[in-house]
């Protein structure tokens, strides 16, 4: 495998995952910040679970769910199983699971920091909850949310725990940087590639952090 493929794959997977995880995380955050419903604590705990459970455990559960005897086993019969599980799609899925809760956690804080008076105002004006999300929450938290999105990208790129379970079967089809590093370490003669990838990973992460720091609101986010 040449040195640059993993880097492009990583960026592709990371970007796709961020584009899915950020809206998902924002919706969760909005629900957590502004709605009261039964079993709310339970739902919140479920959403935060991926942050607390080791990645490989999660990945193993997903794998088992999709085997022929698992609850989603029927999917394999329709051809949804293997093509999905052992391709780039699973890398994106893994990154989304890893990143969305992270976004939800930080975005909840960002939404809670908005003065409640604005939400009271739009409620009294008769504007429905979802429109309040669009017209008030997103614009007023735009700076912290952009910083969160940038850091989410860094995180999506770094996902490997869940992917590790699927890694042996990927055989280079979804060779993200972490995957390539992991397998690179074990193949003799690839030290230079490994070093390149290490440098690329670190640079990418630092670059994204620097961008996030330039966007004002970073201090409040952390």
């Amino acid at each position: 495998m040449d040195a640059w493929t993993p880097i492009w794959t990583t960026l592709r997977v990371g970007l796709a995952a961020t584009l899915i995880a950020v809206p998902l995380g924002l919706v969760f955050a909005w629900l957590a910040a502004h709605w009261r419903f039964r079993f709310q604590r339970l739902v919140e705990a479920l959403i935060l679970l991926p942050l607390l459970i080791p990645g490989p455990v999660f990945g193993y559960c997903i794998l088992m769910a999709f085997t022929t005897t698992g609850p989603f086993g029927f999917a394999t019969r329709y051809g949804i199983g293997s093509p999905v599980l052992f391709s780039e799609t699973v890398a994106v899925l893994a990154a989304v699971i890893y990143t969305a809760p992270f976004v939800a956690l930080l975005a909840t804080r960002a939404f809670r920091d908005i003065q409640p008076a604005y939400f009271k105002l739009v409620a009294v004006l008769g504007i429905a909850e979802w429109r309040a999300f669009w017209h008030v929450a997103l614009p007023l938290a735009s700076k912290p949310l952009t910083a969160i999105a940038v850091v989410a990208l860094a995180r999506a790129i770094g996902e490997f725990g869940i992917l590790l379970v699927f890694a042996p079967s990927l055989a280079g089809r979804a060779a993200t940087l972490p995957w390539a590093l992991f397998y690179g370490i074990y193949s003799p003669g690839d030290v230079s590639k490994a070093l390149l990838w290490f440098a690329a990973s670190t640079t990418l992460a630092l670059l994204l952090l620097a961008i996030a720091a330039r966007i004002r609101g970073m201090g409040r986010m952390l």
Partner: protein
Amino acid sequence: MIDARITCALSASVSAPAFSLDVHLQAAPGITAIFGPEGAGKTLLFELITGLRQPTQGRILLNDEILFDAGAGVNLPTTRRSIGYVFETNCLLPHLSLKENLRLAASVLPAREGARRVVEILERFDLMDLAPRSPAQLSAVEHRVGMLAQSLVRNPRALLVDAIPFGWEQNLRTRLLSVLREFALEARLPVVLATRDLNDCFEAASAMLVMQHGKFLQSGSPAEICRKPVSLAVAELLGQDLLIPAEITFLDPQNKRSRLLIFGAEVPGPYFSGRFKGSRMTLCVAPSAVLASPLPGESVLPGRIPVTLHRAVLRPHDIRLHFAEGATVDVPAAEPSELQPGRRWHLEIPESSMRAL
């Protein structure tokens, strides 16, 4: 017409002591003023009526539609109540211009009507020039008027206004109040104005409620309430009348007379039914009824109350005298020698102006 009979009990928390509210508010089309000091519960009441908070018990009706009924389990969400509420703080959405703020408020109306309404309101409140500005570029007054415009844009069925801020000049207040009155008349809109300024009540309100500690102490027209405050608490809140402690020393039910001890002097007074000799009470007297004149010598004329001058404040059209005993009386003029602190004066209070609280 708003008809809200509600109670709300708030338990003590880190930031506030326990508070209990128990009121029956009836607001007809026109302006109803709720007069009360800070902490009386005016804002809480407004939040309960608009649905931002839920009462513990009671019923809220708006034009015979039930907005809230604890017994029946009805609780219409805030977004459906169609009650305008102008907050005490200025909070137009900062990322939108004034016109966009109004457009957002009008978005609950059909598109063409909304656009027409926005223009109409901008003209009505004289905000056309300010329309493209963002809230940060508006002065406090303009911001406040903008908020009022925003709440009226979509034709609410009732309007709650949480105070016109203190700093405003009188002519601005008057102008704003007259615009409110016009709206209330045209649209047959019940408007409830929370205020700490008695002038607002006189200027604009047809009905007034005095509120303290979560309860209404008196209701009626502003003139009625000020002429006849129903209790000491109300008189103190209004701050219009002189409140003078007195003790009954003699009662004559047949001739309908009495004698009262005020600041150490015995003066004749009217008959107070339901009181006994020796009972203490507070007299509520209109300041304009009290006559004050400097004491010529040491002797006190019968029927007059001797007092000691503490401080005299020279004002454009009269002189305000503060007496050590706690009374404050205005006189048209006086000699400088009579205005020295410690000088003895005497007060004459006509029996007809004495009211007991």
